[in-house]
Amino acid sequence: MSVIITFCVMFALWIVMSGKFDLFHLGMGVLSTGLVTWLSHDLLFSGRPRKLGKLLAEIGRFLRYMLWLFWQIVLANIHIASLALSPRSNETLDPRIIKFKTVLKTDFAQFVFANSITLTPGTTTIRIQDGFFYVHAITVQSAGDLAGGEGPGEMERWVAWVFEGGKR
């Protein structure tokens, strides 16, 4: 299953990048795509669901998550721009490093969560170690949004809903 999906993705990439549709270029594309697929078929979808239906449902949930994430990115940029351009930003800045334990189990979910933390207002992931996230927060408020209350924060619930079937 993962072999076929990897092959299709790579071949689409080849067609877009080459932009030629004659037999020679398509043949070369099939050859090189096959080589890449043979080398890396277990890389792109390691630990993902094997059934096609489940995978499609996961992709659908991921697209909904992307919409929400895009709105968060816009908010993050407005936040950081106002911090940078306000004349007295050194008084509002209060950087700190926080550490919290995540409920996410799989590597891929943790990767998506880490990148999402980096893209959303006021927080940047420093490292993940043994299920603990080390996060640098630039203001007190953004630190509280992520790990202030009891249990996982809003974004962590989203990621758990997308990849591990948790409740949103």
């Binding site: 877009v16 950081i80 721009a81 940078a84 800045l93 490093i97 490292r127």
Partner: protein, 126 residues
């Protein structure tokens, strides 16, 4: 005419975000805050600038411009994945090298000391 207006709005907002990134990079007090400015402002400003260029290119619509637009969207997609990853690599390297850390009280301390105590205990137990 309408298309040109949309393109101008997109690219100008991208430019303003890049201006904010640069200003933040120049005047934030320590390395970690600068990473914040760089990692966030860079992603969206690049995406906005490229989105304006994509719209401008699609004004005369044919197969070739469509292919170019798809390639440009691939670049945007790549930036959206690669920029947080690169930011993460940079801040991890800086954290490991114990780049000095600026805190509200005005003292420059080692980044290690600002983590709550229980995490230090956790590390000693390993």
């Amino acid at each position: 005419m309408l298309l040109n207006t949309v393109v101008i709005i997109l690219m100008c907002s991208g430019l303003v975000l890049f201006l904010a990134t640069t200003v933040g990079l120049l005047r934030f007090p320590d390395f970690y805050s600068r990473v914040h400015a760089a990692g966030k402002g860079d992603t969206l400003s690049t995406a906005l600038l490229l989105a304006g260029l994509i719209l401008y290119m699609l004004r005369d619509f044919n197969g070739e411009t469509l292919l170019t637009a798809v390639k440009l969207s691939l670049i945007v997609f790549f930036v959206f994945i690669a920029s947080p990853t690169a930011t993460h690599a940079i801040i991890d390297a800086g954290y490991e090298a114990r780049v000095p850390y600026w805190s509200k009280t005005g003292e420059k301390t080692d980044a290690e000391h600002s983590i709550p105590d229980e995490s230090v205990e956790h590390r000693e137990n390993r």
